[in-house]
């Protein structure tokens, strides 16, 4: 029996897909959940936040001053792109790809500008996912 919060959670989830924030990989993760592991997706996403915070910080530091090590920047972004892809963070991943293109072109301004986009997408996704998981959790307490 669905309650208000469950409906809201479903709505939040639906719009995350519709607006392209997450893709099918997120569904693949949901399929790995069961009664014994009901919070698997949220646990993976929390790991993603931890990893991302570290990578974002390191990339930020690397972008502060020259000389710029484009190989290192590319490697760090490759890692971030990888974990974004693993949770289905579609928009974040796209920004990561753009950043890597600027690395290849050794275009530091392009990198810096795109990195703002990466952070923006990441923060938006994090906010939306946190709201979704919160709502889903509250909804499940009534079950």
């Amino acid at each position: 029996m669905e309650n208000q919060k469950q409906r809201q959670a479903a709505y939040l989830r639906r719009s995350l897909f519709d607006q392209g924030y997450i893709d099918d990989q997120f569904i693949h993760l949901e399929e790995l959940q069961d009664d014994a592991n009901p919070n698997f997706v949220e646990e993976v996403v929390n790991l993603f936040y931890t990893d991302s915070a570290r990578l974002i910080r390191n990339i930020e530091l690397a972008l502060e001053n020259g000389p710029y090590d484009f190989t290192r920047l590319d490697n760090m972004m490759y890692q971030f792109k990888g974990s974004s892809s693993s949770i289905g963070a579609r928009r974040v991943k796209r920004q990561c790809c753009q950043f890597q293109e600027y690395c290849n072109a050794k275009n530091i301004e392009g990198c810096k500008n795109t990195f703002q986009g990466v952070k923006q997408e990441y923060n938006t996704l994090k906010t939306k996912l946190e709201a979704y998981f919160q709502m889903a959790r509250e909804g499940s307490h009534y079950v």
Binding site: L47, F48, S83, S85, S86
Partner: protein, 190 residues
């Protein structure tokens, strides 16, 4: 059944997963557990070799507990890449028989070719799916049972045909199931 160390469908495969990404380790661990595999997940090639007892390093576990039936490793890792780990394993007299699967988010043909040539059983694109793991498990189990059959054949006459490509368990099975998701049909593997 005392003394039966063979792998049957009921027995668990022990998979060693190697990936520097915390997120990916957690996901592959879950995929393998759902597929009824025992999992040991490590974050680097160096730790993988240490676990396997490479270079005569004594593992704290007994031989039977340690026995790894499959190694799944990420390609791009700091320090030792998955390719370098593959080479070390295939170059080791004690470990070379363990099948190694490489995982990568990048579909670079030269990379795939290099890994398959070095003896990788398969090259999986990330993110790895449950269907990939299930397919892999079936393949490994068949391989292990074939090995056991070889031993048995020496003693008893076996009515079953050997080396039968039994794909009845997999609806998506084609003539080269392992290479279905690889971009290269490598002549040495087929």
């Amino acid at each position: 059944m005392a003394g039966d160390y063979s792998l049957s469908g009921a027995q668990e495969l022990h998979v060693l997963a190697v990936d520097d990404s915390h997120v990916d380790r957690k996901v592959i661990e879950r995929l393998l557990k759902i597929s009824c595999c025992k999992v040991t997940a490590v974050e680097s090639g160096r730790m993988a070799l240490q676990y396997l007892g490479f270079d005569g390093e004594k593992s704290s576990l007994g031989i039977d507990e340690l026995k790894v039936n499959l190694i799944m490793t990420d390609y791009s890792m700091p320090g030792m890449t998955g390719y370098e780990l593959l080479k070390k394993i295939k170059g080791s007299s004690t470990l070379s028989k363990i099948p190694v699967v490489i995982m990568s988010s990048e579909k670079i043909l030269a990379r795939i070719d290099r890994c398959l040539e070095e003896g990788a059983k398969e090259f999986l694109q990330k993110p790895v799916k449950l269907s990939d793991v299930k397919r892999l498990k079936d393949f490994i189990l068949r391989g292990e049972n074939d090995n056991k059959e070889t031993e048995e054949m020496k003693q008893v006459s076996c009515p079953r045909k050997r080396k039968l490509q039994d794909c009845s368990s997999s609806p998506k099975c084609s003539s080269t199931p392992l290479l279905k998701h690889s971009l290269l049909k490598h002549p040495k593997i087929a």
